[in-house]
């Protein structure tokens, strides 16, 4: 019975996504990462049931999240043992708003570009995944991520980085991520980025006055695969509004362009300087010799 309902929902979702997808190609086919897996979070629909947290813990074999609503009394962050958390915030009208947090799966991820051993790697279909067997534990990904998502297992003697992997293994089997497949309220929509950007704008502009006129994640950090729409200011939902619109890996492009020049120009330049200084000394010693007194004649 349960299975059948889920299958039905999935089919309905797939049909909807396919329909949206055809439209999206026109408007957002050129958007960065348009063909990548993506999730639209409509915070106006989230009821804070935290089924996504439980599904995430189960899929990643992590401890069960705390039961009861008391846990919503404080704003939590993701941690090595909880890769996604739902937080409750107060809207200006006094009502509650909920926002799920997890890895944003940037189109151009800062963490993966920062990783010197490609332990963090981006798959062509969108997810930013992690290979613990390559990781040396430098924690530069924690330094680089503008959303403060990678978390380190400081408590362990042999630690790894923990973060949401967008259920890349499930996606490879054609399944939706664990969290989106259990969301009962329709707050999470799984699809392609181009199509979901279209859907997000349709909702924002289709209900005048309801939503803030911004899709969080469309341009943040050069574009993310998790997109948020909201009827309250995004800063109220603890989403980082100071994140720059530019792609973070692009920031270091200039600095990383220097080594080839240093490696090709430095040696000949330095050898040239050496040739000059060597010649100068040679001439000086020869002239010193001719005058017969060496240093004394100069004085």
């Amino acid at each position: 019975m349960k299975m059948r309902r889920r299958t039905f929902l999935k089919l309905a979702g797939a049909a909807g996504a396919a329909a949206a997808g055809t439209q999206a190609r026109a408007a957002f086919g050129d958007a960065a990462g348009a063909g990548e897996s993506s999730v639209l979070v409509d915070t106006t629909l989230c009821v804070g049931c935290r089924a996504c947290e439980a599904a995430c813990a189960e899929a990643n074999r992590l401890p069960e999240p705390p039961a009861g609503d008391r846990v919503l009394d404080q704003v939590r962050k993701t941690s090595p043992t909880s890769l996604t958390v739902v937080n409750r915030f107060e809207a200006p009208d006094g009502g509650p708003r909920f926002a799920k947090r997890q890895c944003m799966h940037c189109v151009e991820p800062a963490c993966a570009s920062a990783c010197p051993v490609r332990a963090l790697d981006k798959l062509p279909n969108g997810p930013v995944t992690y290979h613990p067997e390559r990781c040396m534990g430098c924690r530069y990904c924690l330094v680089a991520c503008p959303f403060e998502i990678p978390k380190y297992e400081y408590a362990k003697a042999v630690p790894t980085v923990k973060k949401c992997t967008f259920c890349a293994a499930r996606q490879a089997q054609g399944l939706a991520p664990a969290c989106t497949s259990v969301c009962p309220s329709g707050a999470l929509t799984f699809g392609k980025r181009g199509a979901l950007l279209e859907e997000a704008k349709r909702r924002v502009y289709g209900s005048p006055g309801k939503y803030v006129h911004h899709v969080y994640g469309e341009h943040e950090a050069g574009g993310t695969n998790w997109l948020y729409i909201s009827d309250v200011d995004f800063s109220r939902l603890d989403l980082k509004v100071t994140v720059a619109d530019a792609s973070y890996p692009q920031l270091v492009k200039g600095a990383l362009g220097v080594p080839p020049f240093v490696m090709t120009l430095w040696p000949p330049l330095l050898m040239g300087i050496y040739a000059f200084s060597h010649r100068k000394r040679e001439v000086a010693s020869r002239e010193g010799g001719k005058q017969g007194g060496g240093e004394a004649s100069h004085d």
């Binding site: 990783c115 051993v117 530069y140 400081y154 630690p159 200084s277």
Partner: protein, 406 residues
């Protein structure tokens, strides 16, 4: 019979090379000094702490957190250690490439400091990495979009170059002429490589922070931070050589017998260079602040004032002192300026990696005593190694064959 002779020969070799010509008992008694006592205490606590860190993990030994992933072991041992090791390439270039022969006498101690500085930084790095054995992945994965990839390769390459440079006095000490002669001949090539790897490495350590504009305070963050790191490395190189040579010349005076060096003239010459570079750096930093639209942060809050302390007290002041000391030929003033400049570089690296990092977080990082103790241990081991080597190998004194030529 033969073996007895060999044993005796070996005994005398050991006595000569390792025990400084003393008998074992004599040598051990000579080690009983207050300085050695303090150093032994530091190491007896620090080395077990280092082992405990691998048994218990980073969480049990450090105050690192999810928002402060890099602490003292990276911010001080790595960032500062590498900057202070810059004397190796600065003086090497001055002597071998620019032909400033008068600095020849301080080239080897500068290279030795660089070599030990890099080794200690690598040990600090191993302590800091969660899974250090995966460092080999640097050679297997081409993480070419990462600044840290560049840093890692530069550490490997430059440590190799430094060990080859250091191999010259090492083989001279062992009397292996066939090994040190060819190395002496390629010293120019090694120096070119050392300048190349250093300029990439020193600047790349700064580039590491470019990707985190929201986390590092705007007075320190700049897209040009790689240039600032390189220039400060040159300042650190010059200043460290001034400080170190004044200390070495006092402590290891016996090593310098017959080695006619006008230490004051060298110091004053270095001070002149230091004044120019520091002065240029001061105005480049102001330029960086303007470029970053961060002028309004100056003097604002603790970090705004702290930035002024760094810039006025540890950049402008040593610059003026260097200039005054060089102008009036006062080596003592130049040495004071050198000490302030070295402290200023340490302050800069500590500020960038720790004090001004994660600056909006009210729950700010403070290192644990264990982190500090391990860092102190590494510095102590570096100093002990420097002394052990200087007392035995031709670093401060001239090698025997060259001294004989004069």
């Amino acid at each position: 019979m033969t073996s007895a002779v060999a044993a005796e020969a070996r005994g005398s070799w050991f006595q000569e090379k390792i025990l400084l010509g003393m008998r074992p008992g004599e040598y051990l008694r000579s080690l009983l000094t207050p300085f050695n006592g303090v150093a032994a205490f530091i190491c007896m606590v620090g080395v077990p702490l280092l082992l405990y860190r691998f048994y218990a993990g980073l969480g049990a030994t450090t105050n690192l957190s999810q928002t402060q992933p890099w602490g003292v072991w990276i911010g001080f041992d790595m960032m500062t250690g590498i900057a202070l090791a810059a004397g190796g390439f600065t003086i090497g270039a001055a002597v071998e490439i620019f032909g400033l022969e008068e600095y020849h006498a301080i080239e080897r101690p500068a290279i030795l400091t660089g070599f030990l500085g890099y080794l200690m930084a690598v040990v600090g790095l191993i302590a800091d990495l969660g899974k250090p054995w995966n460092m080999v992945q640097i050679f297997a994965q081409n993480g070419t979009r990462s600044v840290l990839f560049e840093v890692a390769w530069c550490v490997v390459c430059y440590t190799l170059v430094l060990s080859l440079e250091f191999a010259v006095p090492f083989f001279e000490w062992l009397g292996l002429r066939r090994l040190y002669q060819p190395l002496r001949k390629i010293l120019l090539a090694l120096t070119v490589l050392s300048v190349m790897f250093s300029s990439m490495h020193q600047s790349a350590l700064g580039s590491l922070f470019i990707i985190a504009p929201g986390k590092l305070h705007p007075l320190w963050w700049s897209p040009w931070i790689f240039a600032f790191f390189f220039i400060t490395a040159v300042i650190a190189g010059i200043s460290m050589v001034i400080v170190e040579s004044s200390i070495s010349h006092r402590i290891f005076a016996s090593q310098l017998r017959g080695h006619h060096v006008d230490a004051d003239a060298l110091t004053i010459g270095l001070g002149k260079a230091g004044a120019v570079v520091l002065f240029a750096y001061f105005f480049l930093k102001l330029q960086g602040v303007i470029d970053n639209h961060a002028w309004g942060y100056i003097g604002q809050g603790f970090l705004g004032k702290w930035w002024l302390v760094e810039m006025l007290g540890f950049v402008l002041l040593p610059s003026l002192l260097y200039a005054w000391g060089a102008r009036h030929r006062r080596a003592d003033v130049v040495r004071v300026a050198g000490v302030i400049a070295v402290l200023g570089i340490i302050l800069n690296r500590v500020n960038v990696s720790m004090v001004a990092w994660d600056y909006e977080n009210p729950d700010h990082y403070l290192p644990s005593w264990m982190e500090l103790w391990v860092s102190l241990t590494l510095v102590t081991i570096g100093v002990l190694a420097f002394r052990w080597i200087v007392l035995r190998m031709p670093v401060l004194r001239e090698p025997a064959d060259l001294a004989a030529e004069h």
